[in-house]
Amino acid sequence: MAQTEASGTAANEPAPQPVAMAAHENRFNLRKLFVVVVLYLAAFWTLVPMYWVAISSIKSLRDLAHIPPRFFPTDPRLDAWVTIFERRILENVYNSLVVATLATIICLIIAVPAAYAATRMRLPFKFVAIVVGLMGLVALLPPIASAIPLFLLGSDLGIIDEKYTLIILYTVLNTAFAVWVLRGTFMDVPMDVEEAALMDGDTRFGAVRRILLPLIFPSLFSIAILLFIFNWNEYIIALYFVNSMKTMTLPIAIQAQIPQHELDWGVVSAAGTIAVFPVLVAAFTLQRFLVRGLTFGVASGQ
């Protein structure tokens, strides 16, 4: 992280090409132009589907039917939004919120001690290696591979179509990933301060609470956000375990709204906009931490 930061600030002053710069002032500008233009194109490519969905949700029927399609709505309407709220999308949002939040919290409660033990305790190397290796492997597994056995187990126990089932499943689905990423975070915090506290007679728990947790809190918070987004987006398990409005999460609700042929795209666009909104907020407020989390903790622990 510190490295990223350093290179980030250094980039504002065009410094490190002494040879090329002195010789070709023009080439420098051309290069910069090229980089910036391509980046703007990439940003356009990234954002345009989202923009398109957002404006499709407020286009009037006439605008929707217009050929060629209009890049800016001429006559914005909120009809689609009214419809989507009439179709009780707020219940889906509520379900998603409850399931994602609780699953995130429980997942961290399970994963933080494990990551602590794996990095801070004197466990045999081989044991830690096997555990962490397994976690990495599991974090890669396609959820659909576990979906059938879990679905059959759920049917036997009669717990299909319950919110708590989704919470349990989302928790276990993400624990391996959380341990893996948290491990990297813990390894980045030097042990000296903690050790000093222990030398001064603090208990292990006291050292964790007073020293380690405040230090890792920002990362912990961002990992929580990341897990929340994973849960918020989860689709495959929900596909098997959601049967009714009682448990229907947002992704399943969106799937249900997709029209196969007609022009009626406003409603599903509105639903999609609702689903993407928290993601956009997270992307811009927590960028630095999300990068760490999404790189799978690969970039940390150096």
């Binding site: 065009p14 910036v36 954002l47 345009v48 033990a117 801070r120």
Partner: protein, 318 residues
């Protein structure tokens, strides 16, 4: 284990905790429970190990039982598997998944590497903002990504046909024909997954020490040579990780297909995940679908073992 006998209540595990550990002891299990501290450590790890049991080991064992029995629960040995080898729908799905991997993985790596180099270059202004924008697709739900692109591909509502029409070409009905649907889905996947490659490779580029470039510039190396001989070797491990992750992500896709084509036209866009879902949930043949799960698991395990080896074994032996 000598470390066990040091006075310090915590071992000196800094950022390099793993490398500073002595070689693995002989009797791991006896070692594990000899010390109070270790017992606490094991106790802290056990809950997350239990989640592994629930999400992985139980499903795998159950899967094997499912494969060996018929839909009525009778023992049929390997009949499900041999049926799978003759199932042309399954062949189609497997080939579609692999074909998609072959197209999507290099595209994602190219796009990701290009963007990573651009954002990492000194000309890229405020990197934080570029990164925020470029990683957004990673955090968009599969089904929402598919839905967005379904609108984009829509013959009249969508944006994709606009440049074609402007050039005087016929608009293409992307999702209605097998080959264009394949291209369309690959594009969605590249949109969705290339930010992962970007992010990993960008992180890799940040680990390249800057001063080696200055040294190379003094020695008169061209930028291209500097890239080829210094940057690439440095980011090679990260490149391998990105390749594996992108492959795994692209083969497990299901939301994109559910949102865009629903496997159609015909069965042209069935991939492995969609096949498993269709067989188990729509056609209610979970036992037979489990045989396909086995194939998918094997694919992921091979990729996953490589992943763990690169990430974990190489890292800890460094």
């Amino acid at each position: 284990m000598t470390v066990q006998q040091t006075v310090s209540p915590l071992p000196g595990q800094g950022t390099n905790s793993v490398t500073s550990q002595p070689p693995p002891p002989e009797g791991m299990w006896s070692e594990l429970f000899r010390y109070r501290d270790n017992r606490l450590g094991v106790f802290l790890i056990v809950p997350s190990l239990l989640t592994l049991v629930l999400i992985q080991f139980y499903p795998i064992v159950y899967n094997i039982w499912l494969i060996l029995t018929s839909e009525k629960g009778e023992w049929i040995g390997l009949a499900n598997l041999s049926r799978l080898t003759r199932d042309t729908i399954f062949h189609g799905a497997l080939i579609f998944s692999l074909k998609m991997g072959i197209v999507v993985v290099p595209m994602c790596l190219l796009v990701g590497l290009g963007l990573a180099l651009l954002v990492h270059s000194d000309y890229a202004g405020r990197k934080a903002i570029w990164i925020s924008i470029l990683i957004i697709p990673l955090m968009v739900s599969e089904i929402v990504a598919g839905m967005m692109w379904k609108i984009m591909y829509h013959p009249t509502l969508g944006l994709v046909n606009v440049p074609l029409v402007a050039l005087g070409l016929e608009p293409i009905i992307w999702l209605q024909k097998a080959d264009t649907a394949f291209i369309a889905i690959c594009v969605v996947e590249v949109w969705r997954i290339s930010p992962l490659a970007f992010l990993l490779l960008y992180a890799g580029l940040n680990q390249v020490p800057r001063d080696i470039y200055e040294a190379a510039a003094v020695d008169g190396a061209t930028r291209w040579r500097a890239f080829w001989d210094m940057t690439l070797p440095y980011i090679r491990p990260m490149f391998a990780i990105a390749t594996i992750l992108v492959f795994v992500w692209s083969t497990r896709t299901i939301g994109t297909i559910a949102a865009t084509t629903q496997g159609g036209p015909g069965r042209a866009t069935w991939n492995l995940s969609w096949y498993i879902y269709g067989m188990s949930f729509q056609r209610l043949k979970p036992h037979y679908a489990s045989a396909a799960v086995l194939v998918m698991l094997l694919m992921t395990y091979i990729a996953g073992t490589l992943f763990v080896r690169y990430l974990w074994v190489e890292r800890s032996s460094r």
